[in-house]
Amino acid sequence: MREVADAVGALGRAAALERAARDRSGWYARYLWVFAASQPALVPMALLWHGFTSAMVYAVANALLVTGLSVYAGRQRVVRRGFGLKHGLVVGAWALILGPAVVLGTTVFADSRPFAAAAALACALPLATGALLETRRRP
């Protein structure tokens, strides 16, 4: 009887610890939300605003975003399971959309506001989807 009680107690302890560890790996959802939220500002800036000032502002804004997110990620004490694969997929999908968006937005659809808006949303989509899935993953 005591053996059973010990087993039940150990299972309860394990479940609580697993939950606590999972909860602390939720920082990645916040990371992706911030990354996604930056796209409606950064993508139109890259496509519609031309010249040296634009390039400088875009470069500084991107550098601040990437540095900020990297420092944030580097300070975390827990890395979720499958983080490398998921991050690779999300950032890879984002890059696959951003590349053609920039090429088309500076050639075929140069200075097209509707295209810039659509490109911004398209670039935010994989990041927001990743963030949403990450938020749902946690109980």
Partner: protein, 110 residues
């Protein structure tokens, strides 16, 4: 026709328990690591509520048995020790949990 109850009996699930994980601290460490790729030493220490030296001792035992991997790194200027479960550790934790569930499930028949 008669049946002999003892003949087709499976061994009691307690025999499937991982001996190393019978320690509460070592079991807690593997439970905490089972949900993550890796976790900082201090995070596991705070979660499991043990001292640095107690955790260090238990992690050494787990590392020696090949259940936990220890990786030294840096976060900026600060040194950081990452802990993670090896594949073997993950499998051992899974087997241990399964055995516990079987033992706990046995209470229904008591």
């Amino acid at each position: 026709m008669t049946t002999t109850p003892g003949n087709d009996r499976r061994p009691h699930p307690r025999h499937a328990l991982e001996p190393l994980l019978n320690s509460a601290v070592r079991f807690s460490v593997t439970a905490a690591l089972s949900q993550v790729d890796k976790a900082d030493f201090a995070f596991v220490r705070d979660l499991v509520e043990v001292t640095d030296s107690a955790l260090s001792k238990q992690v050494s035992a787990l590392e020696e048995a090949g259940l936990v991997a220890v990786e030294k790194g840096r976060a900026g200027r600060r040194p950081r020790t990452w802990l993670s479960l090896t594949d073997e550790g993950r499998a051992a934790y899974g087997r241990h949990l399964e055995a516990l569930r079987e033992i706990a499930g046995g209470s229904a028949g008591l």
